[in-house]
Symmetry: C2
Subunit: 462 residues, 2 copies
């Protein structure tokens, strides 16, 4: 039996232990955007550091101005001339939202058998604790079989991916040399279908903006002044409503500057994929407005968009309240494509808001630096090796796809360190990431671990 | 010295005690729209009932399906043939909102001297505990001087005015005979200026509607589905934005049906008042949209409006969250004029919303029965007597004005019991009612008490 067969057997043999450890990790409430999540963040970082140390890595928790990262290096590479690999995951999770919307407790994973599928539920079950745990278990299986890695292996685990990765740029600058590698795997993405693996070669840029409109007055009685005083809800609603025209295009002047049309070649490829995708099976797109002239897949992968993530103003209580609120807030996110500079988009959005701001009103913006879109060529040798490895495990061709999502890390790795990233993962559309009853399943986790063994094997052979 | 002079002296002499009792009342957190306000509601009702009993009234707390009312009848009227008078106030208050927005604790009133004015702050300080306390102290002063009242006096104090007065109709029906009177005074309104008293002879109708738009899906990741799935914030914003046209007119089909133009006579009267009003001195109307063709005063008193009181959807937390929310909610209030039926307005608003609802989305409405507008003729003898009484106390002509506010009670008294209501009160625009740091002042409270003595005197003489 070859070593790779041994490594795969090791992944099979260890599945129960690996699952138990994963459930321990999911049980830690590491919510990064909530100050109350801090103890969970610290506990998860420490737990992961200990696990990687136990695997023979030189591992440490690196503190930042925000949440800590876990950084670990292999100590037993067999050849210094082999490619250096980096594996990235994030251990922080989204807020839970309203607890009553969950049928399963968000931090008490257990195996639930449903229609023959052994699922588990929890915040982070798919985004992204199971994902990072696939490569850690994959590395464990490989090392058990081979005794070490072909070249140097670095593991980087982030704790604020869900809250904007604000500490990452400074961390990357400070650890530039330690992070040097030939390719980075970002394991935070999805499959093409439950049976077909995928790599993402196009990531959208991302910009969040929070905008608050202030009326000239604080809260007023809407009976006395409703007919005459500025109402921030009315002003904000009008701004949001007019951000898109009837064709679903963004109306901000200059928004599409520098954006290239999706090539006919790419559109043809994507059209073929469109016909067979399960992406929309569990999501009802009725009533959604897709930019005219584009298929849903083209809009998600190839067109820049503005999304509304939240609004808040005035009466939030159980009873009625006749109030003109003093302010109204909206949260928006911008998904950008190649050719768009996030800071320029922020600037023209703010100009749009200011140009529509009635006299006497003021506006405040809150936001963090955004990220640009990134792409990777399809003939990159690590891409082809990874695609082969996935295809062997899943016995199905690997789809080289785009993504509507954004991974600022990929952009920063590329821009700051010159490192290419392969975005990979095993999430499915109905995993309910960022939503109540987030889920994953044992079989997928198991094949995820085995996928990494296959990928390491293909890279070694390449 | 005449009895009325004695009664006024009594009001002066008793001011300190009256203020102390008022502060006791304001200290009770009787928030009617919040389930947690229930103990405060019950405490305030009991406290007021005891006070009225102490004043020689037959007083009792009347339980309802909602919050209790206090109902008290005089037992010492001097003549059965004299007019029967009813005094109405409400002892419940608005929610406090965000505590950090208050500079003064909302339930710990004390005298604060500012620029020579002895103010006090608290939720209910002006709306409406000081107001109801002016007539109770006025009645006390009168009775002390005269030994009793000319005709029967009834006091009615409500505990859910700020949360929709939902129990009032059933109460009025059940106590029809007990409430019979020649005129009712609703003390919940404002002065024309700090030195000029006013009566409101036009009240707007009021309708609250809460509308929630549901997307076909629960929360989704906005990166994956933002470009294609229905976003309830976008849908709701568009509905709200389009409720008014550029001239500030409501666009709902049929909204103005039955609404009569404000007469030229009335417009002339109001124009004269406009030139001298302090109404807008403390409120900045910059940026507000007044319906074209109307002055601010005309819009507030004479034109129907739609106001936005609150919106809620998606991310409300401190951090960023890439989510397409599953639903979005807005709270609206409609201020109606004569000729508009609240149930018809609700129906055509709901039709407007449904006509703009994208396929696949659903909508839910929540609302309680609304009230119609009411008016009272300027030559009503109680109106003229009351206006004389106020003018004597304030040494300034009483303004017979309209109101942008709504008092469902007045409409129900008129429609259900055939009773005319005079709406009166001593609130000023910068009292910050429904807002943080709600306030009132000792001098105004004092003159309010004395005003009631003058009014009783004028009615007795009429």
């Amino acid at each position: 039996m070859s070593n790779v067969e041994n490594a795969l057997l090791e992944a099979d043999r260890n599945l129960e232990t690996a699952t138990a450890k994963l459930f321990d990790l999911i049980s830690i409430p590491s919510v990064s955007s909530d100050p109350e999540g801090k103890p969970g963040i610290e506990q998860a970082a420490r737990w992961l550091c200990d696990e990687l140390s136990g695997l023979g890595f030189e591992a440490r928790v690196v503190e930042t101005e925000g949440h800590p990262l876990v950084l670990a290096h292999s100590t037993d590479e067999l050849s210094a001339s082999r490619p250096k690999l980096l594996f990235y995951g994030h251990y922080d999770v989204q807020p839970v939202g309203a607890l009553e919307d969950w049928r399963h407790a968000p931090f008490e994973p257990e195996i639930v058998e449903e229609d023959g599928v052994r699922r588990f539920y929890g915040r982070g079950a798919s985004d992204s604790k199971s994902q990072l745990w696939t490569f850690i278990e994959g590395l464990r299986a490989w090392k058990t079989a081979y005794g070490g890695f072909a070249g140097k292996v670095t593991v980087l685990l982030e704790g604020e991916e869900e809250s904007g990765s604000h500490s990452l740029p400074a961390f990357l600058t400070a650890h530039r040399d330690e992070l040097a590698c030939d390719i980075a795997f970002i394991c935070d993405s999805d499959m093409w279908s439950p049976t077909q693996p995928a790599l993402s070669l196009r990531l959208k840029g991302l910009l969040h903006e929070k905008v608050t409109i202030f009326a000239p007055n604080r809260d007023l009685h809407s009976g006395f002044f409703g007919a005459v005083a500025a109402n921030p809800i009315r002003i904000l609603s009008s701004m949001l409503a007019d951000l898109h025209d009837e064709a679903g295009r963004v109306t901000i002047e200059g928004f599409y500057d520098g954006v290239e049309e999706i090539s006919q070649t790419l559109r043809a490829q994507w059209r073929a994929l469109s016909d067979e995708t399960d992406l929309f099976d569990k999501v009802d797109l009725t009533g959604g407005i897709v930019e005219h002239g584009y298929s849903p897949l083209e809009a998600i992968w190839g067109r820049p968009t503005i999304d509304f993530n939240g609004v808040t103003s005035g009466n939030q209580g159980p009873g009625e309240r006749s109030v003109i609120p003093g302010s109204a807030t909206a949260r928006l996110s911008f998904r950008l494509v190649e050719g768009q500079d996030p800071e320029n988009v922020r600037r023209i959005f703010q100009r749009y808001v200011r140009s529509r701001l009635p006299e006497g009103c003021t506006v405040a913006f809150e936001g963090f630096p955004g990220s640009s879109a990134v792409t990777l060529p399809e003939d990159n040798p690590f891409v082809t090796a990874t695609a082969r490895g996935l295809a062997r495990e899943w016995e199905s061709p690997t789809v080289l796809k785009g993504s509507g999502g954004s991974i600022p890390l990929a952009q920063q790795f590329k821009e700051m360190l010159g490192i290419d990233c392969i975005v990979i993962g095993f999430i499915l559309p109905d995993d309910a990431i960022h939503a109540p009853d987030e889920r994953y399943d044992i079989e997928r986790f198991h094949k995820g671990v085995r996928s990494w063994v296959r990928i390491l094997d293909e890279i070694q052979k390449a």
